[in-house]
């Protein structure tokens, strides 16, 4: 008994003293005081030094896109640092190219705010909000894709461009850590108080498994957004859109936006799936064909079965390029889907004469 007490006491004293020492060190040595943060030469914030730039910005309610939550493993949280960023770190090497490095691009989750710092970020990021959304509806679109409806908190609204995305913060479950995952908004920007996301099931995907297996109507989820440079561009060019699976989400946002505003542009939408069962939103797309100025829908199935009773196009969306597209004259393309689809489509479009500027894409990884 005495021995046990002695052991416990000694061990507690030693660890207690060490923790005390570390706490004191944390308050003194690791205390950098208040530092000045200047953004885009116009906005000035006083921030507590010592934290990473990413979390310092988060505390000021400025959200930089990040999928890994600051572990330095996704490379999304790039920010242009004008001054005060300290030396370039080896942990940034894998994500920041030599050219970006010369321009002052840094990984904001890695560098710490230790001195007054001046940075530049796109103005849109000031629009980004992290809010707690309420799940108002869950509906199966196909056996693998769910449509989730979210409502924003009272008195809050979201300003986004058609085609942009938000990030869902998946809460920790079953031993998984919390992660951010990006999903495109399918509603048009006029829907400021409620948004709709299409979420496909990915085996072992942390966020998709959570949404498909655990999420219920009435749950609340933390969502950050809007982000992204894949969005509707004003102009008079004919629009060619390509999507497979959940890649239809940003396209729907754009189409619904164009429909609401009676935009008079010629649009052709190539939508690919495996079988007839994997197609969704077809009724809405057909009704858009009637109401929009000049909208043509081309469906293509890669593996139609006899039950599909399919007499439309067969193959991948890439197979439609040669058949439907003659040239790149006054045309722009919007591509959305998995990386192989986009990587295959871009060279085909370039062969037709498309230049980089007229090919917009969003890779769903």
């Amino acid at each position: 008994m005495e021995n046990i007490l002695k052991t416990v006491l000694t061990l507690s004293t030693i660890t207690g003293l060490l923790s005390l020492l570390l706490s004191i060190a944390n308050k003194t040595i690791a205390n950098y005081g208040t530092k000045k943060l200047i953004i885009n030469q116009s906005k000035e914030y006083l921030v507590e030094g010592g934290d990473s730039l990413l979390s310092t910005l988060n505390e000021q309610n400025i959200f930089i896109p990040s999928a890994c939550g600051g572990k330095g493993s996704c490379g999304y949280c790039k920010v242009k640092v004008i001054s005060g960023g300290g030396p370039f770190l080896s942990t940034e090497k894998g994500y920041v190219t030599e050219k970006e490095r010369v321009d002052g691009i840094r990984l904001s989750c890695q560098l710490k705010v230790k001195q007054d710092i001046e940075i530049e970020i796109p103005e849109e990021l000031f629009n980004v909000k992290q809010l707690t959304y309420l799940v108002t509806g869950i509906e199966d679109l196909t056996s693998k894709i769910k449509k989730i409806n979210f409502k924003l908190p009272e008195n809050e609204s979201l300003d986004y461009k058609p085609g942009q995305y938000v990030q869902i913060l998946t809460p920790p479950y079953e031993g998984n850590e919390e992660v951010y995952r990006a999903y495109s908004i399918a509603t048009p920007p006029s829907s400021k108080h409620a948004i709709e996301l299409f979420i496909g099931y990915v085996p072992d995907g942390i966020c998709t498994t959570y949404i498909h297996k655990y999420l219920k109507v009435g749950d609340k989820l933390s969502i950050v957004g809007p982000f992204g440079d894949f969005y509707y561009r004003e102009g008079d060019k004919d629009m060619l859109m390509f999507a497979i699976g959940t890649g239809i989400a940003p396209i729907m946002s754009i189409l619904r936006y164009m429909n609401e505003n009676n935009i008079e542009r010629k649009v052709t939408f190539f939508f690919g799936a495996r079988t007839r069962k994997d197609l969704f939103l077809i009724d809405e797309l057909h009704s858009l064909e009637k109401t929009m100025y000049e909208f043509k829908l081309v469906l293509v199935l890669s593996r139609p079965t006899p039950e599909c009773n399919w007499n439309g196009e067969i193959g991948r969306v890439t197979d439609l390029v040669s058949k439907y597209i003659l040239d790149a004259n006054n045309k722009e393309a919007y591509l959305c889907g998995n990386p192989p689809m986009i990587d295959d489509l871009i060279p085909l479009l370039k062969d037709k004469g498309f230049i980089d500027e007229n090919i917009l894409y969003d890779k769903f990884e």
Partner: protein, 195 residues
């Protein structure tokens, strides 16, 4: 057994090298030994931490644990002391030696789990070293660790552009080279011997 601290110091560098005769601290040795500069700074950090933790652990063991009859607690106490000390060092380096902090990066906190450091503290107890002997042993082992990792980095830089069989690339060839280095270090064994 009264061995001169100076003998212990040199022996722990050459004949009883932590890496080459005890094979302790291998993980960072294999992972960080591709560049001489980084290896050198990691080696310095390890030497620094080793020197101080040996000192602290010596005091804690001989003035707290042993008198109370709690010698069996040494594993847990030593590792806690090492962890806290590394944490402290990290804060200090982060604040005052920024360049070094960024050069060491993730490897600084990893020193905590460098087996060589716990190994030195435990050997010091097992071999019943007195104060001066322990200090000499700690510093010597640190320098020995640094010597091996820098030498390894030098060799790896030389073989970087040479063809290595596919299956042996990276850690495989490093382990083989470590073995050869260990054989070479046996050549020192005539000078001093502490075990």
């Amino acid at each position: 057994m009264e061995i001169n601290p100076v003998v212990i110091f040199f022996a722990s560098i050459f004949t009883n090298n932590m890496i080459l005769s005890n094979f302790l601290g291998m993980c960072s040795f294999i992972a960080i030994s591709s560049d001489i500069k980084t290896s050198l700074s990691l080696g310095q950090a390890v030497t620094f931490v080793l020197g101080f933790t040996t000192l602290i652990n010596y005091i804690i063991y001989h003035y707290i644990l042993a008198p109370l009859g709690l010698a069996y607690l040494r594993y847990i106490v030593f590792i806690v002391v090492i962890a806290a000390f590394v944490q402290l060092v990290e804060m200090i380096i982060d604040r005052y030696f920024e360049g070094l902090y960024y050069a060491l990066g993730i490897f600084l906190p990893l020193i905590t789990v460098n087996c060589a450091i716990l190994g030195v503290s435990l050997f010091m107890v097992i071999r019943d070293y007195n104060f001066l002997q322990s200090i000499a042993f700690g510093l010597g082992s640190g320098l020995g660790w640094m010597l091996s990792i820098v030498a390894m980095a030098g060799i790896r830089q030389k073989i970087k552009n040479n063809p290595v069989p596919k299956g042996l690339e990276g850690p495989g060839i490093t382990l083989i080279i470590t073995g050869l280095m260990a054989l070479a270090f046996i050549g020192f064994s005539g000078i001093v011997q502490i075990q």
